[in-house]
């Protein structure tokens, strides 16, 4: 019995166990069916969605930035180019502790505090997930050292990149300008212009000068690579690609050697010179002194250099040729004389008696001539040769401000020249309308008088003066100044020359112009105001000197340069074209606080003309290499 009970117990227990096994098996089946349902859901019902996700996961479009176009001068000298160099780049989004990583890198390659500061600066400005350079121009040895340690430095890469370089350094800096890293303002602009997509992968953009104004030509078209990437974003293989199209090359109108001769001639003077080809409007030299080294700006200028440039009293960052507006002073006189002829207010032979001052009717105010006792009997010719102020006070009064404005504006005064560079100033050619806009006062006759010698409200940029001078040299034909002579297609090598553009033909006759030109030639001859600087020139120079007052001189005071602050001294001006009988070059020079135009400004123009017309180098000019062989064009 007892045995039987045990057996029975065993049987019920076994029965219960078997039941529980079946329950467990049922449990397994139910849960496996749950899995199956899940698999069916994601692999069949939702397959398309996940398949698309997997594809987009692995395929990414990587932009390939184009090579930026090269900038040459008219003789093929390289002004801006690209060179390939190794850079040490960090991707901050992939690095846990940036400082530790940089410290570790500092053990391998030289990393200066300036590098760190600079990196922190560009990081603050950077777009997300961007790779940023910590140091550029690594040596081969440094590259090897970083490469050997890369495994312990995630987010660190050595990349071969193209860098912009300006082999002429500070020469022509205001003309060439520079590129810099794309900042927020640039981004907004790119987005608004619809150019943003073309700048994916591009870090730099033209900031000033030709680099800026020809950005669209120089940049090129960004290509794209469709690459399969892993989760770390590393490209595994390329599926397809569109090649980038390099930016087109620019051929400038300037002669880089002429440019550097002029820069040298400027020495420590602050000022500007613009030399034009009067037949084409091509800019032969475009100097604003002092300049700066554009190479400093390419990857973000460091604060030391920036402060030095930005706080310098000489204002090296100011493009004086384009954005410096100065009173024309006596350089306005040839144009005033033409106005007198045009409106029949004067004939060449009309003379005035110059007592050394001019007075308006019913006024005791004396508008003084620079020559205290006057020039005596003065006709138009002599008025230009000796720069007689009284002649022009009277002429201005006889013409009236309206006619002066209408006539002079034909030569481009008071309006932008339209040069192919951004940011130009229009200057001021005063008129009743202009004054009404800027002041509540009516126009006073006295203001007309001083406008006659290019003082008062009058302001012009050296570029405007050069354009007006070129018009005198070209029969009154006003051309748009151009910095770029041709664009060379990067793909085909085809050269597209940019044709000269006529702005207007000033209403003057050749006979009238001859009177003026003859007088301007005599300016450079003995008894003329520019005789010293022009002595011995084997070609004819037509010129006009100018001196622009910076501060007003009281009625009973005399101008005494020695007693004045250096920055209150007169600006020296000089305009010229040569050879006067068949002009090839027209020049405007301005020297800030330089005093008399014939003394300091004229010799600089002379150096430019001597080189351009005779290939003659100034005696103190250090040997320079016009072919640009000293350029490290790697």
């Amino acid at each position: 019995m007892r045995e039987q009970a045990e057996i029975k117990h065993y049987h019920t227990e076994a029965h219960d166990f078997r039941r529980r096994i079946m329950i467990a098996a049922g449990f397994v089946v139910v849960l496996f069916l749950t899995l199956l349902a899940r698999f069916f859901y994601v692999q069949v019902l939702e397959h398309d969605r996940y398949f698309a996700l997997a594809e987009s996961n692995r395929i990414s479009i990587v932009p390939t930035p184009p090579n930026r176009g090269i900038i040459f001068d008219r003789n093929g000298v390289v002004m801006a180019h690209n060179y390939s160099a190794y850079t040490l780049e960090l991707t901050p989004s992939k690095i846990k502790n940036l400082n530790d990583t940089i410290d570790a890198l500092a053990q391998l390659v030289e990393i200066t505090p300036a590098n760190r500061k600079h990196f922190a600066k560009i990081m603050a400005e950077s777009r997300n997930f961007e790779t940023l350079p910590l140091r550029t121009r690594l040596t081969d040895e440094e590259v090897a050292r970083v490469a050997a340690n890369r495994y312990r430095l995630p987010g660190v890469e050595v990349k071969a990149r193209l860098f912009r370089q300006y082999p002429q350094n500070a020469s022509a800096s205001h003309l060439i300008g520079y590129i810099g890293r794309i900042n927020d303002a640039d981004l907004v602009k790119l987005q608004n212009d619809g150019r943003y997509d073309n700048y994916r992968g591009t870090d730099h953009i033209g900031k000033v000068g030709v680099e800026q104004s020809f950005e669209n030509v120089l940049h090129g078209t960004t290509g794209a690579e469709q690459v399969e990437t892993d989760a770390g974003g590393h490209a595994v293989r390329t599926l397809s690609h569109t090649n980038p199209i390099s930016g087109d090359n620019l051929v400038l109108t300037i002669d880089s050697k002429l440019q550097s001769i002029v820069e040298h001639a400027f020495g420590n003077y602050r000022g500007a010179l613009v030399a034009l080809d009067p037949k084409t409007g091509g800019v032969l030299a475009f100097v604003s002194n002092p300049g700066f080294d554009p190479n400093l700006f390419v990857d973000g200028i460091d604060s030391t250099n920036w402060n030095a440039l930005n706080t310098s009293a000489d204002r090296p960052l100011l493009n004086r040729a384009l954005r410096g507006a100065y009173p024309e002073g006596s350089t306005i006189k040839p144009f005033m004389a033409l106005a007198g002829l045009h409106y029949d207010v004067r004939t060449p032979n009309d003379t005035i008696a110059d007592p050394g001052y001019f007075m308006l009717p019913n006024s005791s105010h004396r508008y003084r001539d620079w020559k205290p006792n006057g020039h005596g009997s003065v006709n138009m010719h002599l008025s230009i040769v000796q720069s007689c102020d009284t002649y022009y006070y009277r002429l201005a009064n006889d013409l009236g401000i309206d006619r002066m404005h209408d006539f002079l504006s034909q030569f481009g005064f008071g309006k932008k020249t339209g040069i192919d560079m951004d940011g130009e100033l229009a200057g001021v050619l005063p008129s009743r309308a202009w004054k009404a806009k800027h002041s509540k006062q009516p126009w006073y006759p006295g203001e007309t008088v001083i406008a006659g010698i290019g003082q008062g409200y009058n302001l012009a940029t050296p570029l405007q003066l050069a354009v007006a001078t070129a018009a005198l040299a070209n029969g009154g034909l006003v051309l748009k100044p151009q910095l770029v002579e041709a664009i060379i297609d990067s793909g085909t090598g085809q050269r597209r020359t940019i044709a000269p553009q006529i702005v207007t033909q000033a209403s003057i006759t050749p006979a009238q112009l001859k009177v003026i030109t003859d007088a301007m030639i005599d300016v450079t001859r003995p008894s003329g105001t520019a005789s010293v600087a022009s002595a011995g020139a084997p070609y004819l120079i037509a010129a006009k000197t100018g001196t622009a007052q910076v501060v007003g001189i009281r009625q009973n005071e005399k101008y005494n340069a020695g007693k004045m602050l250096a920055t209150h001294r007169d600006h020296a001006l000089f305009i010229a074209f040569a050879p006067a009988d068949a002009p090839k070059i027209a020049i405007a020079v301005l020297i800030e606080n330089g005093g008399h135009g014939g003394t300091v400004a004229a010799p600089i123009a002379r150096a430019a003309m001597d080189y351009y017309l005779l290939k003659k180098l100034p005696k103190d000019m250090p040997a320079i290499n016009p072919t640009g062989d000293n350029v490290n064009a790697d």
Partner: protein, 365 residues
């Protein structure tokens, strides 16, 4: 001749249907690992060696008569608990968890031992109290279960703690744990959820939350689930083909040779492959449960039943987590994931199954 007889004797303790199914699984595993490891033959060799070692251990264990297994239960369990205490006191911290213990030159993960020691201990307990089984015995068994589970959970290794408690629970279940108690435990577990939640670590809570909506943290905790679901889903009905999975080969899928290897499988072999794998697992489980049903005594029944169901649990939890219906816990896919320890533990379990299957005559006589 003696060697041949000896080999024959050894071979007689193997269960051939089970062995055949395991070999099929291993073959699949070798193909899968070759692809998942990026066609790395070195890694494949290592995987194969792990298999050979695991097979060797299985053969050895299969030849150990159950009475010796019973005898090993208490020492193994005690050792396991001591080691777990050792881990709690002197263990190495890896990835924020204290799981490893240095023993001489090597280091071990005592929680792995518990995966076998736990059912062994409980089966031993019930085997010796079979005749006088009372409700309090379930209580004692629950305590034996709770000690190592708490220690592992504190490491913290919640996944392993759950798996150990599952294997212990299966013993209790097969030993006849009354339904009303199970129901009560279920209610209690449900009620204690909010309290448990309070004790979870932040990363554990995050894992649970990301299961509900992986997109809340696509680059953090949700990343694994998103990428593995994409892998499986993109495989479609027939898969992308062997070696053609992109998610794993391009490193989008983390841990694609270990815990997440199933995503590679699902991507390359599709729903068809998944069904095949489920069938294979189910066949092994069915064979295991059949061995349990026909086992000669309580210990054998409980061990066979618990080991089989633990095997099922590993497979289910892994596939559920990789396909996005369970939270991410560190559970490898049995026989498929790369990793020697897990494979040895699984095959050791099958060794026990074979032992109880083939020694029944010995016990009976």
């Amino acid at each position: 001749m003696r060697i041949k007889a000896w080999l024959t004797k050894i071979a007689s303790h193997l269960d051939y249907p089970l062995l055949l199914l395991l070999f099929a699984l291993m073959l699949l595993s070798l193909f899968l690992q070759y692809s998942a490891a990026g066609e790395d033959t070195g890694k494949l060799m290592a995987h194969a060696i792990n298999m050979l070692v695991a097979i060797g251990i299985m053969v050895i264990v299969a030849n150990i008569p159950p009475q010796y297994l019973i005898a090993s239960a208490v020492p193994l369990y005690t050792l396991g608990v001591i080691l777990l205490i050792g881990v709690a006191l002197f263990g190495d911290v890896v990835n924020g968890s204290r799981r490893w213990l240095h023993v001489g030159v090597t280091r071990i993960q005592p929680s792995e031992i518990m995966k076998i020691a736990m059912p062994l201990m409980l089966a031993w307990y019930f085997h010796y109290h079979e005749a006088t089984l009372k409700l309090k015995d379930y209580g004692i068994a629950a305590l034996l279960l709770a000690i190592p589970v708490v220690l592992v959970a504190k490491q913290p290794d919640l996944g392993t703690a759950l798996l150990i408690s599952a294997s212990g629970f299966y013993v209790l279940f097969f030993a006849g744990l009354p339904w009303r108690i199970m129901l009560g435990m279920g209610v209690l577990a449900g009620a204690s959820m909010p309290v448990l939640w309070h004790f979870l670590h932040d990363y554990q809570r995050k894992r649970v939350l990301t299961l509900l909506d992986p997109m809340t943290d696509p680059l953090g905790a949700g990343y694994h689930i998103i990428q593995s679901t994409i892998a499986i889903g993109s495989g479609g009905a027939f898969g992308k083909g062997w070696l053609n999975g992109t998610q794993s080969h391009l490193d989008f899928l983390p841990e694609h040779t270990t815990d997440f290897v199933f995503a590679v499988f699902g991507e390359e072999f599709g729903l068809l492959g998944n069904i095949l794998l489920l069938l294979l697992y189910f066949a092994i489980i069915a064979r295991g449960l059949s061995i349990a049903t026909n086992a000669p005594n309580l210990f054998a029944r409980l061990m066979a039943g618990s080991i089989t169901m633990a095997f099922f649990t590993y497979a289910f939890v892994n596939m559920g987590m990789v396909s996005g219906i369970l939270p991410v816990v560190g559970v490898p896919l049995p026989m498929m994931s790369y990793g020697g320890t897990a494979m040895v533990i699984v095959m050791l379990g099958f060794g026990i199954l074979m032992s109880v299957k083939t020694h029944r005559k010995l016990i009976k006589s």
